[in-house]
């Protein structure tokens, strides 16, 4: 059994190895043939091959040592305008050495950039086109400012077809000597929601249990990987147990190190999975949105999130859920 993350071990290295997103791959191969790449915007849901496509393109363009010609940045870690001004500019303006006259800058999660940073980026893209081409990767292209969009060739990545994900999972399982049952495949497809990375991670975690992988194994892994705590926290709050809910919140923040923005997103997602009447869901979602905003404005995540829990407790009472 392999001893690294399978998502990396089985990440395609070349465009030829990419089995999905056929249209996109064909266009990218065209770029390789002419040794010319425009600025690109790869948009689409997570786990659909955007980063992989960018890396494969770089590989095919520059060969095995492609790492010398590219820079990978992740905007959600380096979203400030300073990174754009310093790091990106320094990389973009230096000349490329070799057959291909430009370098490639892969900017992942570009939709997480502030508008200011995007404006700065736009200038740099314009100014250093000769020496550097940009591949912007985003979940939502709408969050990229119009002037950048108009400078990029758009690529829309779509959800992978379930049969493709299933084929990939079976291939990996066979290669790793793992017994993957049909009910296991179905369960993984169900929980991974078209996200191949999530599917492979689920498979690897399930394989770590050392049993034939069936439905039950998959759900137990998913249960362990996604502690019910967020849901439990919401349920405690809604049944009027605010102090206990806040205690759980503290556990999540201080013991598990979950970031406030991550938590609020999970709370939002849970509201739509729990048994709550639709008209209440809308009102609750609105409240969550308000606190998501305050989280950014405030000084202290825990205070904002507990204020949200107190709101949920109030909703619980209004809905007649309270104890």
């Amino acid at each position: 059994m392999s001893l690294m993350m399978w998502t990396e071990k089985y990440r395609p290295r070349t465009l030829d190895e990419m089995v999905d997103q056929e249209e996109i791959v064909a266009r990218l191969k065209g770029f390789v043939k002419t040794k010319n790449v425009p600025h690109c915007l790869f948009a689409g849901p997570p786990g659909t091959g955007k980063t992989t496509a960018a890396l494969c393109l770089a590989h095919d363009l520059y060969g095995e040592n492609y790492h010398d010609y590219i820079m990978e940045l992740n905007a959600s870690d380096e979203r400030g305008i300073n990174v754009i001004r310093e790091t990106v500019k320094t990389f973009a303006r230096s000349m490329a050495i070799g057959e291909v006259p430009f370098k490639l800058l892969i900017l992942d999660e570009a939709d997480n950039m502030t508008a200011d940073a995007q404006q700065a980026l736009r200038r740099i893209m314009e100014r250093y086109t000769e020496t550097c081409r940009f591949i912007l990767i985003a979940n939502y292209s709408a969050r990229i400012i119009e002037p950048i969009q108009s400078r990029c060739a758009p690529f829309r990545f779509t959800y992978l077809k379930p049969e493709h994900i299933a084929a990939r999972l079976k291939f990996i399982a066979e290669n790793e000597g793992v017994e993957l049952l049909e009910s296991g495949v179905k369960a993984i497809l169900e929980v991974s929601e078209g996200d191949l990375r999530k599917a492979i991670n689920t498979l690897q975690a399930a394989a770590s249990l050392g049993k034939p992988i069936d439905e039950e194994v998959v759900y137990s892994v998913v249960g362990r990987a996604n502690p019910a705590q967020v849901r439990e926290m919401i349920e405690l709050a809604m049944s009027g147990k605010f102090i206990e809910a806040r205690q759980l919140l503290r556990e999540l923040i201080w013991r598990y190190g979950v970031a406030g923005t991550d938590l609020i997103r999970q709370i939002h997602a849970q509201i739509f999975k729990m048994d709550i009447p639709d008209r209440w869901r809308i009102r609750i979602a609105e409240a969550i949105g308000e606190f998501d905003f305050r989280l950014v404005m405030g000084a202290n995540e825990e205070v904002q999130l507990s204020a949200l829990l107190a709101r949920l407790a109030e909703f619980g009472q209004l809905m007649g859920r309270g104890a």
Partner: protein
């Protein structure tokens, strides 16, 4: 000189006037005498440590005075970098003085030396000790700070303990006699007990209540008790949660001498204990949420004037959130303060793991935390072989492995595989 501080006015001039810590004083006397008689003791430096106000600095001063040393004093406010230390005390440390008095060097408040701003400060002191030809005394409250470890090994360690309230009381008695104050026994006993072994704070308190009086009774000192932090905060909290108007709630903080950030934590902790109705709790928490937004604005703009809105929201905003008058509330210490002290390292550990994943898997640290670490936990808790492979591949250290495995035995197993390969 009515404005002179009594702590200065009654500072001991000779060792015999320093109260308490007999053993420490004897040890230091012997050490300094050796120097005086030209025998260099085994440890050239003495490290005096213990809680504040137990007489560390005055002991060194009195000792130097008694034995005729010229004391060169430095404290955190004046020495900082290696260069400054050399300039300040170097000449005294390395040259024998043929004329005049022999020297003694004192580094006070070592706790204040920081690793970054005072680059090389501690190592400069160690160098100095190795080459010194005169006695060197070091003082810190907490000598167990890891930074001091190499220093500890080369020093004579001398512990100063809290001074007994009986000793403190006798001292207060002497001061009152000199000031011409007739003090009741109970009054002085109260001050001495409150000081909890800190002589300096006892003298400060005595001056605060007794200066200019002819007589000092128990009633005169009892109000000092109001300054006790916890009692004071309970009183303010009670006033905030029971207030029925803005002005009442606001005046609760104005009358009191409490740190407003700390008060915020206390109120935040106790809102759900004071209020029971979810609507009241939600409204009060909403006020705290808005107060926190103003805190955020202060951080961003450095406009401290916005603090008044924080205060208004956290007191009046919380007070007016209620519809029913709360009954007796058992206030609790802010859990958040405790969590902050403990949880930070785990959070940092998780970030370190996320950064390792980011490098290897082409994802952001957020995605790593959200979408990969949860699966790693499952793997690390179930499959040591696979976990060890991944740990090696990601370059995780033992701390990170322990964190992911969340089980000492499992982690040990994984670590031994990692090492074995």
């Amino acid at each position: 000189m009515a404005h002179e501080l009594w702590t200065v006015k009654y500072r001991p001039r000779t060792l015999s006037e320093v109260i308490g810590n007999e053993k420490a004083k004897a040890t230091l006397l012997e050490w300094a005498k050796a120097w005086k008689e030209g025998r260099v003791p085994e440890k050239k430096a003495a490290f005096l440590y213990g809680p504040p106000g137990t007489g560390k600095t005055v002991t060194v001063q009195a000792l130097a005075n008694d034995l005729g040393f010229d004391l060169i004093e430095t404290n955190a406010s004046d020495f900082r970098t290696e260069e400054q230390i050399e300039r300040l005390v170097g000449p005294a440390a390395f040259s024998y003085s043929l004329f005049g008095k022999p020297k003694m060097i004192l580094f006070d408040e070592l706790d204040g030396i920081t690793g970054t701003a005072d680059a090389g400060g501690l190592s400069a002191i160690m160098k100095l000790i190795r080459r010194a030809r005169c006695p060197i005394a070091l003082i810190a409250n907490n000598p167990w700070d890891p930074r001091f470890r190499p220093l500890r090994e080369m020093c004579l360690m001398v512990e100063f303990k809290r001074v007994s309230s009986r000793e403190i009381m006798k001292l207060l008695q002497r001061i009152c006699e000199r000031e011409g104050i007739a003090a009741d026994r109970e009054a002085l006993a109260f001050i001495a007990k409150r000081a909890d072994g800190d002589v300096r704070s006892a003298i400060m308190d005595l001056q605060a209540v007794a200066q200019g009086r002819k007589r000092l009774t128990y009633d005169d000192v009892a109000w000092l008790g109001m300054r006790d932090r916890k009692k004071e905060i309970f009183r303010v909290l009670g006033n905030v949660f029971h207030a029925e108007s803005c002005s009442r709630a606001l005046s609760a903080t104005r009358e009191a001498d409490v740190d407003l950030d700390m008060l915020f934590e206390w109120i935040y902790e106790n809102v759900p204990r004071a209020y029971k109705d979810p609507r009241e709790v939600a409204r009060a928490m909403d006020a705290l949420s808005k107060a926190d937004i103003f805190k955020g604005r202060i951080i961003r703009t450095q406009d401290w004037g916005l603090g008044r809105y924080v205060t208004t929201l956290m007191t009046a905003g919380v007070a007016l959130a209620k519809e029913h008058k709360p009954g007796f509330v058992r206030f609790q210490f802010p859990e958040r303060i405790r969590y902050l002290a403990r949880g930070k390292s785990e959070r940092e550990l998780q970030m370190a793991i996320a950064r390792a994943i980011k490098r290897a898997c082409h994802v952001s640290t957020r995605e790593a935390r959200e979408k990969i670490i949860p699966y790693l936990r499952v793997i690390f808790q179930n499959n040591p072989e696979m976990a060890a492979g991944i740990a090696r591949w990601l370059g995780l250290d033992e701390e990170a492995i322990n964190f992911l495995a969340a089980d000492k035995k499992k982690a040990k197993q994984i670590i031994s595989i990692v090492k074995g390969a």
